[in-house]
Amino acid sequence: MHTLKRSKLAIFIGLFPALVIYLGIAIVPIGISFYYSLMDWNGIGSKSFVGFDNYVRMFQDDTFWLSVKNNLLIMVTGLIGQLPLGLVMALLLNKALKGSGFFRTVGFMPVVISSVMVSLIWGMMYNTEYGMLNNLLKFVGLESWQQNWLGDPKWSILSISAAYIWQNVGLYMVMLLAALQNISEEVNEAAELDGATGLRRTWFITLPMIRTTLMVTIVYSISNSFRVFDLIQVLTGGGPAHQTEVMTIHMYNSAFVNLDYGYGSAVSIMILLFSLVVITIANRLGKEKA
């Protein structure tokens, strides 16, 4: 590395363009967001400094708290739905059964297609009159189970969760599968000699071996759940009556629909804080365990 020491100008030229674009568009705007969050501004007229009024308004806004609640709901259902299912799939695929390649391909497919496509497909499945779900219920004679999946506040956020889980299980499946395949054959042989087989081996030997990856998937699943936007925007836009709003949608609606840029920025700063807090806690926990 030391061979190329005298080259300050070259280093500068090499890093400068990437840094300018990256800092200018991904980092500096965070500061600007915070600055806007202290302003009352509709984007056209003049800005007026209002201190932390937007934050006070936000904390008194039921819609904001509803969006936080929905975020937590998606986080919890995501954790419950994606990880155990992904883990079981990974454990089964790791058994080298015939056709496991096919199941892996199919399992990962939803991860590759865009969330917009996932939402549109699920939107059609959920459609009250013509959707697959209600048609299927009618087909098997369970008409009384038919629901307005996205329009009924009782079901809407759960319906979204289901689509969200469907979209992401495959990712956790392959993450965990990769970890399982890294366990050396010797460990399994040793376990077998000790008489550990089946579920016991899975629980006491396999799972502890992939603990780090399990932690990573948990953290990733949590931090991902705070970034959901496309799926809800396309499926319901946050409706009916804010029932499916999450923080990102709340931010989008405040800023780009109601043109309340100051308030929207305050929400966006909260999204950032939530993400950072979650990641910090996760890192702490990860370090303690390791």
Partner: protein, 276 residues
């Protein structure tokens, strides 16, 4: 590996089969019904189509402006990808092969981007683009796509280049090649495997992106595929089979891409997730 008991196998296959069905049924349902007329669908949503009606496809292609969306997505995806990978590999080269005072700091700065949710920057980016009169241009999407994917790109490439032996550049220096020459003809060719991962990741993320496009593009002529599709479906709410045809058109290229590059895509996206 020892033999598994038949009971275990049976349960394993039932579980795997159900999971596969869950993933495939919505897709099959979409494709099959895209060949039906509206009336046929309403009457028999689960039957096979009576014939292959391609009218939905020609109609969707025409009224949904699919060709425009495809071209826009294609151009924006590839220009962003090329800029990101070029700038990212250049930055990774200097970060991994040189020693200078702010090296650690600059590297950490690049990694920081992986923690930032794009939503926290959306409003300022919109207002900046507005001020620069870039709203409704390719540029308005190329810039954020590049900026937000530089972190992961630099991270993956830096890690790879760091692994090369120290005297890799020696031969180039002996030949009197300049620094950029060494980058271009010695380091870059060796980085190909990591480059493949990075290219595929950038491609899939850019191709599927929705939020920036939603905020930064309003003109129909500049919409990308995800944005155009969601608008089209919003307008044609009553024509299900037409929607399904449009979705199938958008679905086919990405699924071919997936099947062809499955291995790289799976490892790439897993790595991207673990590090992101």
């Amino acid at each position: 590996m020892k033999q598994k008991s038949p009971v275990f196998k049976l349960f394993a296959y039932i579980f795997l089969g159900l999971f596969a069905l869950m993933n495939l049924v919505p897709i099959f349902w979409m494709i099959i019904n895209s060949f039906k007329s509206e009336q046929e669908y309403a009457a028999h949503p689960f039957a096979m189509p009576t014939g292959i009606h391609l009218s939905n496809y020609t109609k969707a292609w025409d009224i949904a402006n699919m060709d425009t969306y495809f071209i826009n997505s294609f151009l924006i995806t590839f220009i962003s990808l090329i800029v990101t990978v070029f700038l990212g590999s250049l930055a990774a080269f200097f970060l991994s092969r040189f020693e200078f005072k702010l090296r650690g700091f600059t590297y950490a700065l690049f990694l920081l981007g992986m923690l930032v949710p794009i939503h926290a920057t959306l409003i300022p980016i919109f207002l900046i683009m507005q001020k620069l009169s870039l709203i409704d241009t390719y540029m308005s999407l190329i810039l954020p796509y590049t900026a937000f994917h530089l972190s992961l790109t630099v991270f993956i490439l830096e890690g790879f280049m760091r692994g090369f032996p120290k005297d890799m550049e020696e031969s180039g220096i002996m030949d009197g090649a300049g620094i950029f020459r060494i980058f271009w003809s010695i380091i870059l060719p060796l980085t190909r495997p990591a480059m493949a991962t990075v290219v595929i990741l950038n491609f899939i993320y850019n191709w599927n992106e929705y939020l920036f496009a939603l905020v930064l593009v309003t003109s129909n002529n500049l919409k990308t595929l995800p944005l155009g599709l969601s608008n089209f479906v919003g307008l044609e709410t009553a024509n299900y089979t037409l929607q399904m045809a449009a979705l199938t058109i958008a679905f086919i290229p990405i699924i071919i891409f997936y099947l062809l590059l499955q291995k790289q895509l799976v490892t790439g996206m897993t790595a991207g997730a673990v590090k992101g």
